[in-house]
Amino acid sequence: MSAEAAGGARPAAHGAEGHPGYKTYLLVAAVLGIITAAEVAVFYIPALAAALVPILLTLSTGKFILVVMFYMHLKFDSRIFTGVFVAPLLLAMAVVVSLIILFRVLPAYSPP
């Protein structure tokens, strides 16, 4: 097995260094700008107040994934980099959710 195969690197299908080109970067930037504008618009629309949290979390997750995949090149680099970054990210998310449940949700059900 080659080192490349061992490292799980994807084939370089996007020009120099296997990274995207200028057009892809500009397209991603435009999408990020549109999503940010949509987030702010949603914040100011009273009719969407009930669904504000899931909408904003979905939009910001989309932005996060776009930056990590295209600007940080995880879509084109070795899967080892993805694992090294995503594993602690999932742990951090678990810590955030656990602490919110522990301190914000469970006290509401505790006896007086």
Binding site: G7, A9, E17, L32, T36, F43, L56, R104
Partner: protein, 197 residues
């Protein structure tokens, strides 16, 4: 950079990957835990302040939206800088690296203005739980941006002197990883702190 290109410039490793890049991704993984702990603290103490000012009274969404777009644009400048270095385009590298540092500095200016105005409106580090958790979270993020700006300026000086080219593009790529990480942390902060009140 592909593994094949890496082998041309670096001694082979067990994974076939550059050690610096792998180590830096590991560092960024540890940073997610660091910011995760700060975000947890903010979320746990949210709406628990017994005295003002609170989020509804003080946060300036239009201003922060502009600063968010500034930081997102700086990430675009960063990838253009890396692409220019990888292609050996010295002028492009100089322009894009300086643009990234300038936009990072502009973001810090917005943050300095925000912190100053909050202080004058009575929000300090010790006035309530919101002040403590807000300033620690956004302050640490600002400190990371400041380090990034200095790092970019060092790279810019190297580019001006003609010392940045395809052979040492990894130095720019690693700086770019750091800069984009700072960007994604702000994406999370902007949503959880500013928009979900």
């Amino acid at each position: 950079m592909s593994s094949a290109a890496a082998h041309a410039e670096h001694p082979p490793t067990a994974t076939g990957l550059q050690t610096l890049k792998l180590g830096f991704w590991t560092f960024l993984g540890s940073e997610t835990l660091f910011f995760g702990s700060l975000i947890s603290t903010y979320m746990v103490y949210k709406r628990r302040s017994v005295t003002g000012p609170t989020t509804h009274e003080i946060l300036n969404i239009p201003l922060t939206s502009i600063s968010t777009l500034v930081l997102l644009t700086s990430s675009l400048m960063m990838v253009l800088a890396l692409a220019a270095v990888q292609r050996g385009e010295r002028r492009g590298a100089v322009i894009w690296l300086l643009s990234t540092a300038a936009l990072g500095s502009l973001f810090l200016s917005f943050q300095a203005y925000e912190f100053t105005s909050f202080y004058h409106e009575g929000l300090t580090l010790s006035v309530n739980l919101f002040g403590s958790s807000f300033f620690v979270l956004t302050g640490f993020h600002g400190a990371h941006v400041t380090i990034g700006v200095f790092w970019l300026l060092v790279l810019w000086v190297q580019a001006v002197r003609g010392r940045l080219g395809p052979a040492n593009a990894l130095a720019v790529e690693v700086a770019g990883l750091y800069w984009h990480f700072v960007d994604i942390v702000w994406i999370v902060i902007f949503t959880l702190v500013y928009l979900i009140q």
